[in-house]
């Protein structure tokens, strides 16, 4: 196994992008990343693409081929593979790309994540997102995707005293960060009052506890670390890649309030990197809903189980806090083009570690963590990166 | 003569109620006048997830809870209703599957306005009597609808009852059954139409009264009985007035019909009506009690049953399922807007 580095990153603006098609988004993010990396087309050995449900969003499957085509690589016949793990599709694509280089099979790989969600109605988009849940035994009975996370929230509040204000605080923080991110879907701050009084979606989660429907794409170029200097003078090493699965339905889990898939993926990653949670300088975590961020910081080991709410309340996870979480604005403010999210998280970490995060820049971060989740926690990936 | 008749029973009445007065005020009528005139205070309304199939299943399951038969030994399921969820695809198979009686089972759905349930009882009786089946399950259930603003809107309600017919451990011996049937168009619903139509006052004397009186008189002649020989008399109850009037005209007292008269509290459950009345009587009946039940279905016909409660009723675990009176009391009031939404008056696309 050899070391892998990120040598280029790129992303499109996230939002309701009426003028951009799936292909437009793909080409834009991909070319930005490739130009940033310094590689040329002939250097690329393979492509790995994460997209949750192009079939239902744009009626198109066979995405690996489509992306290779839209990126201009069909004529040189680059191997292109699409991976899917619901909202963790991006993280899985990163991992597959990483493994293909670490194993020695490839030297340079482009990883992309794309989702074009606005070509269908809002109701259809919501239903498509719900296919991340157990269709027969959850969705069939009328529970929505926010409803499933609401079940986690209700139990978390019951067991640990987490409050609606603490949930709202997550949204406030992420919007404050997103306001500094020119690529974010929402670049305006919100008040705690607005957050907790928003229209109810599934109690206790309201509209502002939920990440939006978004179009967008993100891309990174991975390279064997030993060859990275051929292309760039600011490589960022991926020092760990962890992945885990769990029961598809929330009711099949060991503990409703813990995403064991996150715990295991994180353990795997910390072990690989020989690190502890306290060694992490910043993290992009999967805040598809505010409660998800609270569970994430617990399950990743930044705080003890049950103390996530208090940690948010005590401002530990703000951009100035002990462990800044979601400096990009998170899924909540930056947006959540499903398949792109996992890759976009890597983009943010890399930009922070390279000192390119502009208004969101932290002071000299060395180690960053990206955490991506599929569904209500049936899939999780954790990647740790280090500036070299 | 071997006993043959009801060996167990169960009933189901949805929780929601709407007051006659609340319906009346929407249409600019006086609630008190309507209630007094019809003898109906409120009616049951099905929730959006309740229908004839769910009411039938819950009634059948209640009947099974009270006795200890193996559902696989039920040889026939017959469900009578005016509001089967499908025009084609039987309610009976849904019930059969839900109680574990399939696949060695005869099934059919019945329609005969409000007497489809009692027709099902007659069929099960014949199949059991002829030893073609060991046990039969007869159900009468409805979630009947009425056109907004029509007089029927005050009475058309939801509910049902199920009866297991057999020869062993009979709790109510069916001494005799007969019917009185003519082609009388007093009330009908054309195929493809949503709401029924009726002949106004024509639904009285030449329809309801003629058929019920004829069937009951024929029965008492056949059984050589007089009204005072019966402990309970149960009649079809489209409103609170008709059954009181017909029972009086036949010589029955109010005390005899009171236990089986549910319509003032839950409205007319159509195919469930007289059968829910019977379930209410069985909740309190004692060995030796004699019952005469006369249903009525528009179109038109009456099925009459002469029954005697046996000692076996003391062995039936009646407490294992809710009493009709308990279900009548377990209620939640809704307003007309909610009622309109639930009964699909608003067209939904």
């Amino acid at each position: 196994m050899r070391d892998v580095a990120v040598i280029g990153v790129g992303l499109t603006k996230f939002g309701e992008l009426w003028d951009k098609s799936f292909r437009n988004l793909t080409a834009e993010a991909g070319s930005k990343a490739i130009i940033d990396s310094g590689v040329s087309g002939k250097d690329i050995d393979a492509m790995y693409i994460g997209s949750m449900s192009s079939g239902r969003f744009i009626g198109q499957e066979h995405i690996g081929a489509l992306v290779a085509d839209a990126s201009g690589f069909s004529h040189i016949h680059i191997p292109a593979t699409r991976v899917e793990g619901a909202c963790a599709s991006g993280g899985l694509a990163v991992r597959e790309g990483f493994l293909s280089i670490a194993s020695g099979m490839n030297d340079v790989v482009v990883v992309g994540g794309i989702e074009k969600m606005n070509d269908i109605s809002g109701t259809s988009a919501t239903e498509t997102l719900a296919t991340a849940a157990d269709q027969e035994w959850e969705a069939f009975f009328g529970v929505t995707f926010p409803g499933i996370y609401a079940l986690i929230a209700t139990r978390h509040m019951h067991e640990y005293g987490t409050t609606k204000e603490q949930l709202g605080q997550v949204a406030v923080k992420n919007h404050a960060n997103g306001a500094k991110n020119p690529y974010a879907q929402y670049q305006r701050e919100i008040t705690i009052d607005k957050a907790i009084n928003a229209t109810m979606v599934a109690e206790p989660l309201g509209l502002l506890d939920c990440s939006p429907v978004t179009d967008g794409a993100a891309s990174i170029v991975l390279c064997a670390a030993e060859k990275a200097k051929n292309f760039t003078d600011k490589p960022v090493k991926i020092i760990a890649s962890g992945q885990a699965s769990d029961s598809l339905a929330l009711h099949g889990r060991r503990d409703i309030c813990t995403l064991d898939a996150t715990v295991h993926a994180a353990k795997m990653a910390y072990k690989q990197a020989n690190l502890n949670p306290k060694d992490i300088d910043l993290a992009e975590v999967h805040d598809c809903f505010t409660i998800a961020e609270i569970c994430a910081i617990e399950d990743l080991g930044f705080v003890k189980k049950g103390e996530g709410g208090k940690a948010v309340e005590n401002m530990i996870t703000t951009i100035d806090g002990e462990i800044p979480i979601n400096t990009s604005g998170g899924l909540k403010s930056k947006g959540h083009p499903v398949g792109a999210t996992g890759v976009a998280q890597i983009v943010e970490i890399v930009q922070q570690l390279r000192g390119e995060a502009d208004k969101r820049q932290l002071k000299d971060p060395r180690i960053g963590l990206a955490h991506n989740v599929g569904g209500s926690g049936a899939t999780s990936t954790v990647h740790i990166m280090e500036a070299i | 003569m071997d006993n043959i008749g009801i060996i167990s029973y169960g009933s189901n009445i949805p929780r929601y109620r709407i007051k006659a007065g609340d319906i009346a005020s929407v249409w600019g009528k006086n609630g008190d006048t309507i209630s007094k005139g019809l003898g109906i205070n409120e009616k049951s309304v099905p929730n959006i997830d309740q229908d004839t199939a769910t009411i039938s299943v819950e009634s059948a399951r209640a009947a099974l809870k009270r006795c200890s038969i193996n559902p696989k030994e039920i040889g026939g399921v017959y469900v009578g209703s005016e509001s089967h969820p499908y025009a084609v695809k039987p309610t009976g198979t849904i019930v059969g599957e839900a109680i574990g009686a399939t696949p060695d089972l005869m099934v059919a759905d019945y329609e005969f306005a409000c007497k489809a349930g009692t027709a099902a009882v007659q069929t099960c009786l014949a199949l059991v009597k002829s030893d073609m089946i060991k046990y039969g399950l007869a159900i009468g259930a409805d979630t009947s609808q009425a056109a907004p603003g029509d007089a029927l809107e005050f009475s058309a309600s939801a509910g049902g009852a199920a009866f297991i017919i057999g020869k062993e451990k009979v709790i109510a011996n069916i001494n005799h059954t007969l019917s009185f049937t003519t082609d009388t168009p007093d009330f009908w619903r054309r195929a493809e139409r949503k709401y029924p139509s009726h002949g106004g006052r024509f639904t009285g004397a030449p329809a309801y009264f003629k058929h019920i009186r004829s069937a009951a008189i024929n029965m008492m002649k056949k059984m050589d009985t007089k009204p005072e020989d019966y402990t309970y008399a149960i009649f079809h109850q489209p409103n609170g007035k008709f059954p009181v009037n017909v029972s009086k005209s036949l010589g029955f007292s109010y005390d005899q019909i009171k236990q089986g008269l549910m319509v003032p509290f839950i409205g007319n459950t159509y195919s469930g009506a007289s059968l829910v009345g019977l379930a209410s009587v069985l909740d309190v009946a004692k060995p030796g009690d004699r019952i005469i039940l006369t249903s009525y279905g528009s179109g038109a016909g009456s099925d009459c049953f002469d029954m005697t409660i046996t000692d076996e009723i003391s062995n039936l675990a009646r407490e294992k399922a809710p009493k009709v009176s308990d279900m009548v009391e377990n209620k939640k009031y809704i307003d007309y807007g909610t009622y309109a939404k639930l009964t699909d008056i608003l067209y939904w696309e």
Binding site: G142, L151 | Q50, E58
Partner: protein, 135 residues
């Protein structure tokens, strides 16, 4: 949902009668039934026995759905809960026949037969389990 009816017909024994199964090797109960026991694995082949669950359990968590999927809009707001059945497995289902405020973690519930959803005005109707308060 414009599905082939076969997909939901197949699960009638589960939705109507809570038919799960039990690993005779270790005694663990599963709902819906599993092909083999995840704990005993190959030692459970041929030892998975059909089991009808009683339908009684307790609410472990719940939410009130205000924004519903297609086919459920008319029912809003409605409670959905994760219920731990007495035999061990958990299910996700609607809670019925009580006020929204009555729904609590720890509430004892029992199954009831209801209409779950239908495929529009002309499609099939799917029945199954919901849960109501019991003692």
């Amino acid at each position: 949902m414009k599905s082939n009816v076969a997909r939901f017909w197949r699960e009638i024994p589960q939705r109507y009668n809570l038919i799960g199964n039990k690993c005779e090797n270790c005694g663990k109960v599963f709902f819906p039934p599993k092909e083999s026991c995840p704990i005993c694995r190959r030692n459970s082949i041929g030892k998975m026995k059909e089991l009808k669950l009683r339908g009684r359990g307790q609410i472990e968590s719940y939410t009130i759905i205000h924004v519903a999927p297609e086919n459920f809009e008319e029912q809003v707001p409605y409670p959905i809960a994760i219920i731990k059945l007495e035999e061990g497995p958990k299910v996700t289902a609607q809670i019925v026949d009580c006020e929204l405020d009555d729904v609590k973690i720890g509430m004892n519930v029992e199954s009831t037969f209801r209409r779950i959803q239908e495929d529009g005005y002309i499609g099939a109707i799917y029945y199954g389990y919901k849960f109501k308060k019991c003692d």
